[in-house]
């Protein structure tokens, strides 16, 4: 038995379609998940026990269930309430919900790590809680939460493979289809692996650039400080 690249040459449109759908689903689930995550994080930080309890339960429930079960419960549960939705839509929503619980915890931890006085000084001059978040807390938290958010996003992209089990024709599903036609699992899944790797590599690279860009403002202000700059220069000198 030899590695047969002809299979890949013959079926590349299917891989391409699958990859494209995986990317689309990931982007949509990310947007949905992060929006929900921020909302749940802010809910959890509101004064009063009820909103905090609601946010905590949301996170606890979604984190306690394996993703495939979340997916099955929604996909097979919705028809009971008379709602029949296309599998890709259900899968995307389920993926977004799953990720939102983790995003919520990342955002919440990021905000809690900031000294409370930052929020209070914004509130004291009359900013609303949302204005304080937007102008004072958010920009300071953003950089810190990029690395953990990237982790979660990569996990989520890989979890999207599970959507193949409810017939969403994403990358893994197409891989299974090609495998069924060719009986060449190694060739197929080697190709699928490379494509997933490419996607996650692109996301990680973008995240890294974002992190650097958010850090540039800080770095620039440090290098403008002559004392700090001299220390940084010394470090660079000794590193050589």
């Amino acid at each position: 038995m030899a590695f047969d690249p002809a299979i890949l040459v013959q079926y590349w449109p299917l891989f391409l379609q699958g990859a494209w759908l995986t990317i689309q689903i990931s982007v949509q689930a990310f947007l949905l998940g992060y929006t929900l995550g921020i909302a749940v994080a802010l809910l959890g930080l509101m004064p009063g026990r009820l909103p905090r309890l609601a946010a905590a339960s949301y996170v606890e429930v979604l984190r306690a269930i394996p993703f495939i079960i979340i997916l099955f419960v929604i996909y097979y549960g919705l028809p009971f309430s008379g709602l029949r939705l296309p599998a890709p839509l259900v899968g995307t929503v389920a993926l977004g919900l799953f990720a939102s619980a983790y995003y919520a915890e990342i955002v919440r931890a990021g905000i809690l790590a900031l000294p409370r006085g930052q929020f209070e000084s914004a509130r004291a001059i009359g900013m609303s809680p949302l204005q304080a978040m937007r102008h004072i807390v958010g920009p300071q938290v953003a950089r810190a939460i990029v690395p953990p958010s990237t982790n979660m996003t990569l996990t989520m992209i890989k979890e999207s493979a599970v959507l193949s089990s409810i017939t969403v024709p994403e990358l893994t599903y197409q891989g299974l289809v090609v495998q069924g036609n060719t009986f060449a699992p190694f060739e197929v899944f080697a190709a699928v692996t490379l494509i997933y790797w490419g996607i996650t590599l692109a996301v990680a690279g973008a995240a890294h650039r974002l992190e650097r860009r958010l850090g540039v403002a800080q770095a620039r202000s440090v290098s403008r400080n002559r004392l700090a700059a001299s220390y940084l220069l010394l470090e660079r000198e000794s590193a050589r």
């Binding site: 006085g117 930052q118 914004a122 509130r123 001059i125 609303s128 300071q140 403002a217 800080q218 400080n225």
Partner: protein
Amino acid sequence: MTIPALKVSGLTKRFRGVTALDSIYLDVARGEVVTLIGPSGCGKSTLLRCLTWLEEPDDGFIEVGGRPFGRAVVGQVVHRQTRREIDALRPKIGLVFQNLNLWPHLSALENVARGPVVVLGRKRAAVEAQARTLLARLGLERQMDKHPHELSGGQRQRVAIARTLAMEPELILFDEPTSALDPELVGEVLGLLREIAATGMTMLVVTHEIGFAGGVADRIAFMDQGRIVETGPARAVLDNPTDPRLRAFLGRVLPSSPRVTA
């Protein structure tokens, strides 16, 4: 009778059964400088936090320039103001925090300008021009584009004060403005407070600097265990304290004065 800049009546705050503020009454007239002194833990900082509604008082009323803040009596009913109503009055009460809480991701200029733009909805160009004038007046014309960590302690203090002044408050509350400073900067900041007082700004200053309290303040209020125990013209309070607790406190903080034991 003119309307006082600040009128506090029956202000009470409890933390889990511990009474931090016990029915505080305090009026501050327009242009008056009042210093609040007292042993640590007596409730001075809690009072300032309640006056800005960062801490919600359990009882009592606050009026700023004649307008009720936080709670109002409408007819016979005490009406708790909405968050929006409270936020709308907050710019009128400036608070300079003990640890300043400058925004590290913004330049000095932006620390000052962001409030009027976001909260008061002013035009950015006009606000920036005003902020530049303000910072220049405070001697920071060359520091405007620097971030807080590039500034010295005294400069940071000036930015914090400028940030508060930019909101055009009716009064400013200072929470121990000299406690976070190196000793040689204390004089500089006290001089600055004197300058601001000279412009006619109404000020309520929590301080440990009895010298400042005596030299600049029109009035001194002495707090102990959540109550204002004694209040009066600055010199009178310092020279002829009547309350034994105030005498004991002054005995501890003024080494030159005769030691009085409680």
